[in-house]
Symmetry: C2
């Protein structure tokens, strides 16, 4: 086999960075190439359009996060503690990114999804799929919590979806207001949304 290249990776990473920080519409192919150190030709050698690259970049971004998600939402961890760990993890990650770029960027899937949903079916469907996979971690945790009797959840999917939406909403607001403090108190909101019984609160880290 001839030489191998990491350019495809670099293009996806560059795209993800720029799209997350700015937006899909405000990110040009030229800008992506510049950041990746690629020329136009290379871009269109690996991807047949900007929208296909965006879909690939989002998918790739998810795949990189997946291992961490599996660890945080491991069935060996008590279900409510999974949420606790997850919210802390996201908070720390956003704070870290803020140091680099000066802004709270929130969840890229929600931002980009809202932006392109009516215009770009490829990207829309990719995000739809990713969000669904993300939701499933919540569903399992809610189910396990109900099985342990720490919450009541006659409809675990509905309850998981409620918590999920709530979290996504908070992140969108945090991005708009550029204020991470909104996410700080999310654990209390989660307890209320889940309807955690008074005897079995989450750890108070």
């Amino acid at each position: 086999m001839p030489r191998v290249s990491d350019m495809k990776e670099r293009l996806m990473d560059a795209a993800m960075d720029l799209i997350w920080e700015n937006s899909y519409g405000a990110t040009s192919v030229d800008a992506i190439c510049e950041r990746a150190g690629a020329k136009k030709g290379s871009f269109y050698y690996f991807f047949k359009s900007k929208s296909e690259l965006a879909a690939a970049a989002l998918e790739d971004c998810w795949n990189k996060k997946k291992a961490e998600m599996d660890s945080i939402f491991s069935p060996t961890v008590p279900p409510l503690e999974r949420f606790d760990r997850y919210f802390n993890f996201v908070h720390d990650r956003l704070a870290e990114v803020q140091k680099k770029c000066g802004s709270i960027l929130g969840c890229p899937f929600i931002s980009v999804g809202s932006e392109v949903s009516t215009q770009d079916q490829i990207v829309r469907e990719t995000i739809d799929r990713i969000m669904d996979r993300k939701l499933n971690y919540f569903v399992s945790a809610v189910r396990d919590a109900a099985a342990e009797g720490v919450i009541d959840a006659p409809d675990p999917v509905a309850k998981a979806r409620a918590l999920f939406s709530c979290y996504q909403g908070m992140m969108a607001q945090a991005r708009i207001q550029n204020d991470i403090e909104l996410l700080r108190g999310f654990k209390e909101v989660a307890i209320e949304v889940l309807g955690v019984k008074r005897t079995s609160a989450m750890s108070s880290s």
Copy 2:
């Protein structure tokens, strides 16, 4: 005084329609002009940039909604019923828009806000202000509900914000999935987030 023109209004309406249906980035000044039946010269006679028009259009959109909000959230209405009416109102409105344009568009402030927050301070601040005013309706209702004893709310602002985020998150998801059904069951979520006491549920319309 010479002739009066409704062109400024028409430009704002056209901009709002296009931006809500597509996105800020995907909406060109030319497209706005075409829909408003205006020429470039008129556009730049009334607004000094695209971003200033967007801010004006969003502000104008809010002002048009304000009267309806005042009526829905009137202090003469029992506090929990205010939420009930509001969620129904938004649901019906989104369903109506869907008939015209084929998509569930969600909340324009959240979508546009997430899109432009890191790039356009004028628009960002406008949306920030609007969201805050919107939140205040929630805060008053939560306070009134607490005063009546139908919920416990040691921190009414936090509770209102939690419900608000939750609702915004659901709308963002409804847009991405193009599915209004997500909003149908929001009343039950609201009851849980607010922690409504079992004796005082919302009306079951």
